[in-house]
């Protein structure tokens, strides 16, 4: 029974649940690693790792890979994408149901590879970018790096198959009347993400495969002694790597759009321009990769080009922020938990975006490159962008998905804890970066002690919040039913607004920009008996 339903599952909703469980599982490991990193860095000298700097590097690699490939991508794309995309376009399932199954079941072996790489010989302390020659056979002779590469291969195949599925589903399985211009923004976000995955992942796969050949089969793509060039690897990696950061954030954009609209009881302002903004962010994302490589010794003209193309991305991002503000404007705003997350997202993502504009300048990057300023920047856009939208999406859709309500008060406490915690962690990192503290160092000169200590305190606050989040899920699953009865906090978060917030007004018949909340909760296995009609 259970094996039938979960292991052989071809149902997008069940697979989505598996994705969520997997994402939370890896997220817990990744967060624990971040806590260990912060505790080690809480003061100068060796703190808890007994001076094992290789272990520190391994934790840094593990934290990055787990958070990117095993938390955000399965959570936002695999989880919410699989559950919500078919519902939102009025389809009863994904286009290729069996493909969907394999694209999930490639992930656990990938995690096994990654964990195995931390168990054998001297581990892989290469940074998640696995730059050769450090990841080459001389500097890292153990098979750990090979296992890490296999883990990346497996997640890449998984995401690639998933991406094909999403594109095919939204191309073929839209319900009657669901034209592209009427598709909800989250669906657009997933399509754009899927296209980016489809175009960028093969490049990463090629890059790491060449690295694998260099390590094991005597090729010398990146081997200087054999006429290769390590910088080629960096180009290949970042040609994937930059679209990847948009892959992480664009589904978040979609979720935030839905939440902002629902909780201000207004349709999204400038829906078409939002789609074009996301699409141009995705397109430009492929043209800016070398801004990760300003200091490898690129020509000044090249750096000037990458500076300008990078700064151009601020324009569509600005359009999105302003459109969200305009959506809020004149709305009837209800500060439920998802909305709190959405508003925090708007504010903190703006900060992250602005430091991004500063970092876009090749001339300034000389001071910032590979310092904690960069770490602060990308955690503002990913930790407080992608992860906040993951939380927001969970609180927004989980009552519909599970049919059980969470405890609103606990969830608000969880929000404020992580809001404070994340800011206390990452704001001081900007100061450290300005002072010149390099990234990825297990020990630092005494002068950096102050802000590092503050940052570590923030990390503890954030971890408490995550523990509370786990309890909230537990509470929701165990006590959630009783929450359905007249409880003030439930009434507050209950969702009658969705229907009226959407485009009821054009005609009198019930129709909405997004139909997921019109279905019963939890939605039936085969969501629609007759196709929904979008007018």
């Amino acid at each position: 029974m259970y094996i039938q339903r979960w292991l052989y599952s071809t149902n997008a909703k069940d697979i989505a649940i598996l994705y969520f469980i997997f994402a939370i599982f890896s997220g817990v490991i990744g967060s624990t690693m971040s806590l260990i990193i912060r505790l080690e860095l809480a003061a100068p000298g060796n703190q808890i790792l007994h001076g094992n700097h290789q272990l520190f590097n391994v934790l840094v690699v593990g934290h990055a890979l787990l958070m990117i490939f095993f938390l955000v991508m399965p959570g936002l794309v695999g989880g919410f994408g699989n559950y919500m995309l078919p519902l939102l376009i009025g389809a009863s399932d994904m286009s290729f149901a069996r493909l969907n199954n394999i694209s999930f079941w490639l992930l656990p072996p990938a995690l096994v590879c990654l964990v195995a790489s931390t168990l054998i010989e001297s581990w892989a302390g290469t940074g998640w970018t696995i730059y050769p020659p450090l990841s080459g056979i001389q500097a890292h002779s153990s098979p750990s790096v090979d296992l890490g590469i296999f883990a990346i291969h497996l997640t890449s195949i998984s995401s690639l198959l998933g991406a094909i599925n999403f594109i095919a589903t939204s191309y073929n399985m839209r319900t009657n009347g669901m034209s592209y211009s009427k598709m909800p923004l989250f669906v657009w976000a997933i399509i754009i993400t899927a296209v980016m995955l489809l175009l960028s992942l093969p490049v990463l796969t090629a890059g790491v495969t060449m690295l694998l050949m260099d390590r094991n089969f005597n090729t010398s793509f990146f081997e200087v002694a054999g006429g290769g060039d390590p910088v080629l690897y960096q180009h290949l990696f970042w040609f994937f790597g930059h679209p990847e950061v948009y892959i992480l954030i664009v589904p978040g954009f979609g979720i935030i759009s839905h939440i902002v609209s629902t909780y201000s009881k207004k349709p999204v302002f400038g829906e078409i321009s939002m789609v074009y903004a996301m699409a141009s962010i995705a397109f430009l994302g492929f043209l800016v990769w070398s801004h990760h490589m300003y200091i490898v010794g690129l020509d000044a003209d090249t750096r000037a080009y990458f500076t300008s193309s990078t700064m151009v991305i601020a324009v569509p991002t600005g359009i999105k922020i302003f459109s969200w503000l305009a959506t809020l404007y004149g709305g009837s705003i209800r500060l439920a938990v998802p909305m709190l997350y959405a508003i925090a997202f708007l504010f903190l993502f703006t900060i992250g975006g602005l430091t991004g504009v500063a970092l876009a300048n090749a001339s300034l990057d000389v001071a910032f490159h590979d310092t904690y300023y960069v770490v602060g920047h990308f955690h503002y856009v990913l930790s407080m962008g992608a992860i906040f939208s993951l939380f927001a999406g969970y609180y927004y859709w989980s009552p519909q998905i599970l049919g059980l309500y969470f405890n609103e008060r606990l969830a608000q406490i969880q929000f404020w804890l992580i809001f404070v915690g994340a800011n206390v962690i990452f704001m001081p990192m900007h100061f450290l970066g300005l002072q010149g503290m390099p990234r990825r160092i297990p020990d630092y000169p005494d002068a950096y002690a102050g802000w590092n200590y503050v940052s570590s305190i923030g990390s503890v606050i954030a971890i408490i919040s995550l523990a509370l989040f786990i309890y909230i899920i537990y509470d929701q699953l165990i006590n959630g039913l009783t929450n359905k009865i007249d409880n003030k906090s439930v009434v507050y978060s209950k969702a009658p607004d969705f229907v009226e917030s959407n485009t009821i007004f054009a005609n009198n018949s019930i129709k909405s920009a997004s139909i997921e909340f019109l279905l019963n909760s939890p939605p039936a296995i085969h969501s629609f008996n007759t196709p929904a009609v979008q007018s």
Binding site: P133, P230, S264, K266, L354, I441
Partner: protein, 236 residues
């Protein structure tokens, strides 16, 4: 020169390049802070009013004029940022007829410096290695993870060119006060220039993950007067 406890800003600068970086940063930050204030004020006031508003303006879904404004205006701000940025980029890139060249080679986990312009009595170029001073050998006043046994000694007010490379994995030659950061990549020679304008000791750290002791290969530059430099040179 060195990072300071609870510092929230750049290290003091010693070269025109770093002066330029600080000025550009302040310049850009002016616009960024302005934008952040605008956005957060808008967000705050909209949310404040919206929370008390029972009737949403449902038909407010697009506006050509405002959308054009918030597309064009950020683009203009970016242009204003871009021009000084490009000027600084090209200025810093110039390495015109340097008076002397210092070669820095990154190795796991120390730096090797070569003064190729000078030869000693036996006809060899001056070269030496520079290791971090381990914690238990530190003397009073020395900085852990920043002080090294030997340091780059160079004259002030002289156009110096650093040629940077690596012998094993990628390292990065970075000295914040001098506005220098350039990858030391095996198989490649990268160059940066510095015109140090005051005497002092400037510290930097390897800035590209290079393995276990990545945090323990600092760079120490001693800028001295030309006379002292010549004395030092004679001792080598």
């Amino acid at each position: 020169d060195v990072p300071t406890p609870w510092g929230v800003y750049f290290q003091d600068s010693a070269t025109p390049n770093h002066e330029g970086i600080i000025e550009l940063h302040d310049n850009i930050m002016f616009y960024l802070v302005l934008i952040l204030c605008l956005v957060s004020w808008l967000l705050f006031s909209i949310v404040k009013d919206g929370s008390k508003n029972p009737l949403p303006h449902k038909y407010l879904v697009h506006g050509q004029t405002i959308e054009i404004i918030w597309t064009i205006l950020p683009a203009l701000v970016l242009l204003v940022i871009a021009f000084p940025s490009f000027i600084l980029l090209y200025l810093c890139d110039e390495v015109i007829s340097p008076a002397m060249t210092i070669k820095a080679i990154g190795l796991q986990w120390y730096w090797k410096y070569e003064y190729s312009d000078f030869i000693n009595d036996s006809g060899e170029t001056i070269e030496f290695e520079s290791y971090v001073i381990p914690e238990d050998l530190l003397e009073d006043g020395q900085l852990p993870l920043l002080d090294t046994d030997t340091s780059i000694v160079c004259p002030v007010n002289t156009h110096i060119r650093f040629i940077v490379s690596a012998a094993d994995v990628i390292h990065d030659f970075a000295v914040p006060s001098l506005g220098i950061k350039i990858d030391a990549c095996p198989g490649r020679l990268n160059q940066v220039s510095a015109l140090i304008q005051r005497e002092g000791v400037y510290y930097g750290q390897c800035s590209e993950l290079c393995g276990v002791a990545h945090s323990a290969m600092p760079i120490k530059v001693e800028a001295v007067s030309l006379k002292e430099f010549l004395t030092w040179l004679n001792e080598q």
